[in-house]
């Protein structure tokens, strides 16, 4: 990318002070997203991917807080802004789409009213103009008969339609960055496809950057340009999507890709990684994956690996895997 990245996260640390001590939920996360790019953040439960999204939007649940590092949007730091300023940025420059469309929309107000409210907060439009734009937004997200549906309540939409409304809401103020946290997990497979297509369209047409957080590798393969694989609050591997999936370097990524049942081949047993992701209270020293790693050596147990270029991707590993060795 020749242009400066739209979003730049450097050495982000998120902590949760509890009465049992301080828990490190995100440990030195760094990545960037360029305009018009879709970055996937994938990981299993507890890896910290949702937290990363929340930290960027500025919606970390207290007592969680950003302990170190920087988040820059178009070159400007946003992690240390006061609440009011962050609130303005949140709607205008960053749009958010969450997993459950039922709870993302206020059931008491019509869809139109919620859209208009967002539009008039962030854009300088009159009420009439805002309504016109609301209808446009609904149309652009593929909702049929938007002039009529703009006055409907959320419960009058089906699940897939509701998620489209949520996306419309996120797009209302023309944001540069959209953070989508598991936007398709609660939807049926056929609807998932529609929503994914919509997100891609939005990204290309408006040049927005998208950060797509999910546990579903298939969705990532379909949608993203680059992907970051997270493990125990750290990034294990990051790189172009095709390379991470077909030529992974980090043993965890290899195991992850191998444990996903594929549509195009028959295997007797799925590759399985024994054990489980460590709880945040019990992260082993050195590389967090070392107890489960078939290639671990002493250095892995002692020293935490830095992210380094390995083949086509960047991986945090002292013993990166040779191409396709485990598949």
């Amino acid at each position: 990318m020749t242009a400066a990245p739209l979003l730049e996260v450097s050495h982000l640390r998120v902590e949760f002070p509890t009465r049992r001590g301080t828990l490190l939920a995100l440990d030195d996360i760094s990545f960037s997203i360029a305009s018009g790019e879709i970055l996937g953040v994938v990981g299993e439960s507890g890896a910290g991917k949702s937290l990363t999204g929340a930290a960027i939007i500025g919606l970390l649940d207290p007592p969680g807080r950003i302990a170190a590092g920087e988040i820059k949007l178009t070159g400007r730091r946003i992690d240390n802004l006061p609440y009011e300023q962050m609130r303005r940025i949140r709607g205008k420059e960053i749009g958010a789409v969450f997993q459950d469309p039922l709870t993302s929309l206020n059931p008491l107000y019509t869809v139109g009213r919620q859209l208009i409210e967002t539009i008039t907060t962030h854009l300088d439009l009159s009420a009439t103009q805002a309504r016109v734009r609301a209808i446009e937004l609904l149309a652009s997200t593929g909702i049929p008969a938007p002039e009529a549906r703009v006055d409907h309540f959320p419960h009058q939409f089906s699940g897939g339609m509701r998620q489209r409304v949520v996306i419309a809401l996120a797009l209302a103020a023309n944001p540069r960055l959209i953070v989508a946290d598991e936007p398709t997990t609660a939807l049926d497979v056929s609807i998932q496809a529609q929503i994914i297509a919509l997100l891609k369209k939005v990204c290309r047409e408006q040049g927005a950057a998208v950060m797509l957080v999910t546990h579903d590798m298939g969705v990532i393969a379909e949608t993203c340009d680059r992907v970051a694989v997270m493990y125990a609050g750290r990034i294990a591997e990051i790189g172009p999507v095709a390379d991470v999936i077909h030529r992974p370097a980090h043993p965890y990524t290899v195991g992850l890709m191998g444990s996903i049942p594929a549509m195009d081949e028959d295997r007797e047993r799925l590759l399985q990684i024994d054990g489980a992701m460590p709880r945040l209270t019990a992260i082993p020293p050195g590389c967090a994956f070392n107890p489960r790693c078939p290639h671990a050596v002493d250095r892995c147990r002692a020293e935490r690996p830095e992210i380094a270029e390995v083949g086509a991707t960047h991986a945090a590993c002292w013993q990166p895997v040779a191409v396709e060795a485990l598949r």
């Binding site: 049926d188 529609q194 297509a197 298939g218 393969a221 379909e222 999936i245 444990s259 799925l270 489980a276």
Partner: protein, 332 residues
């Protein structure tokens, strides 16, 4: 057919979701029914796995519950090893039948009683059916069962909240195997689990099937998982079976337009950047299903007959499909 351990004939379940009597009288609302399962027929051979796939509202979970007797069928029959389960469950042979079939549920956090120790949870079927004489024997059997699913026998003294989702699901499997059943109904057992944990559980389930000759009915919405575990696959839509085929045939040459749509809609990690034709429409409201073939509003091959007449599940080149277009040779 005597090779079929489980046989289902024209199974149907209708739920009465009418508004309360007072509302109906005052607001003049009609009674409302949901045909959750609308005439389903299939058979599962001993030692094999039939998977039922479909999206939300297709009735696959209801079929699962009908098969173990959690719901009573409105119409049709479920036969287990030749006998009608509705009759048996109502009579004296109920306990014996229950020993032979068990169920594994989707939510690992709700399927174990949070106040009971794992020992009691896994021993409950043993105690209920009088299969153990005393506490010591119960402890022994539980230890065996826990080992068979890859857990430490010492875990029997712990409580469910001390385990992760994948481990809880394994405890569920251990409990289901306690009475040495022949038939296991698995309702989305890995949907709530992470991918790597899912791999562990699926591997265990396949191993157990091989070792003990178990028969599975596997419910899932994830076609990739189904492809891994199933021998035969049935695709459901709005309470009806639209296609039943051997796994290989279904995935290589899907016949029914809905099956094709589903297969097309799955994001697959090995097909990066593939352009998919997005699916039209959404699953209709089960309270008000379309007439004739319930898929016709979304089907590119629908004609007048599809709107009027419900297609029957017919044999076609070795698979069973319920589609007029296929029957008439219109489907490519």
């Amino acid at each position: 057919m005597s090779t079929h351990l489980v046989e289902v004939q024209d199974l149907a379940k209708i739920f009465d979701v009418s508004p309360p009597w007072l509302n109906r009288v005052v607001e003049r609302k009609p009674k409302a029914f949901v045909h959750a399962v609308d005439g389903v027929s299939f058979g599962i051979e001993r030692g094999r796995t039939l998977a039922l796939v479909g999206e939300s509202g297709c009735g696959k979970s209801t079929v699962a519950r009908l098969l173990v007797g959690l719901y009573g069928a409105t119409r049709g029959a479920v036969r287990f090893d030749g006998e009608d389960i509705a009759k048996t469950l109502g009579g004296s042979g109920a306990q014996k039948l229950r020993r032979r079939m068990q169920m594994i549920f989707q939510d690992p956090y709700a399927s174990l009683n949070p106040r009971w120790k794992v020992l009691d949870i896994v021993a409950e079927p043993l105690r209920e059916h009088g299969l153990v004489k005393d506490a010591a024997e119960a402890r022994r059997r539980v230890a065996e069962l826990l080992s068979s699913v890859g857990l430490n026998p010492a875990d029997a003294e712990k409580f469910p909240h001390q385990f992760s989702g994948g481990q809880r699901q394994r405890i569920s499997i251990a409990r289901a195997l306690a009475t040495q059943p022949e038939f296991l109904v698995c309702d989305e057992p890995t949907s709530a689990l992470d991918v790597s944990v899912q791999a562990q559980v699926l591997n265990i389930m396949k191993d157990l099937q091989r070792e003990r000759g178990l028969t599975y009915l596997f419910i899932s919405h994830n076609l990739a998982v189904v492809r891994h575990v199933a021998d035969q696959v049935g695709v459901m839509y709005l309470g009806r079976l639209v296609e039943v085929a051997d796994k290989a045939k279904l995935f290589s040459t899907p016949r029914h337009p809905y099956t094709r749509m589903l297969l097309d809609a799955i994001p697959d990690i090995h097909m990066t950047g593939r352009a998919r034709t997005p699916v039209q429409g959404e699953v209709p409201n089960p309270l008000n299903p379309p007439s004739g073939c319930s898929f016709h509003p979304r089907c590119p091959l629908a004609n007048a007959r599809c709107k009027a007449e419900r297609p029957a599940l017919l044999e076609f080149k070795g698979v069973r499909v319920a589609c007029h277009a296929v029957e008439e040779g219109r489907a490519a």
